[in-house]
Symmetry: C2
Subunit: 117 residues, 2 copies
Amino acid sequence: MSTRPLCHPAIDDVTVTGILHALSDPVRLAIVTELRTNCAGMNCIDTMSRVDSTMPKSTCSLHFQILREAGLIRSERRGVELSNQLRLEELEQRYPGLLDSILKSHQQELVKLSRKK
Amino acid sequence: MSTRPLCHPAIDDVTVTGILHALSDPVRLAIVTELRTNCAGMNCIDTMSRVDSTMPKSTCSLHFQILREAGLIRSERRGVELSNQLRLEELEQRYPGLLDSILKSHQQELVKLSRKK
DNA sequence: TAGATAGTTCAGAAGTTCTGGACAACTAGA
DNA sequence: TCTAGTTGTCCAGAACTTCTGAACTATCTA
């Protein structure tokens, strides 16, 4: 699928600013939220339909690249598609509580927003 | 000091992606780390000397503007200078544990980094 | 081999961030 | 009130990043 091999940083090279930058985009935060409960992994096509159906394929591919390079996900080839999974256990060991705290706050924000309407 | 009045978002308008974006810059994360223990508040000049002495004044001013507009700090005029303070209690009420979790992870990163050398 | 599907790469457009220099707000001393 | 000093903002161009359509690569099935 790729001309270049898929590159994943070692967990010790994953930075906090890198994680925050990757999650500071609403689409990427939504992708990671989906992946948190969806341990089977998601590909680009799944993501476009679940997260933002107007998003072009190239943009979706780029978002996954950014999440991968920040160390948040691991991408594996499964035939013609990629399976993208959260590096949940590694992240939890390296930065305990960080990811859950961010996703919990985001969830609280969504709940509050939906009550306003 | 400013021609325009200082604008702070209401705590309910503070978003998680906004917070993450503001803290995804190493300088701004360092500023917030300083402010966390420094309840008296910091101005630009303090910050330049403590956080990054090579940073231009206009860049420092911009970083504070970004932190302010993300809802992380409150800036008050004190004569010729601004006192910038974390909106700690408000943030804690709106997104409990979020800020501490990020700062704790960042601290762990710094400790691990200093051990490597 | 051909056709279908999934994802990447490229390059230009659009948007954001950085920074030096000019400026504005304020203070204190004469 | 005038002047000098200090702090911070604004502006505009440079540098950098992100977005996206179109062309391309990789893989599967038959």
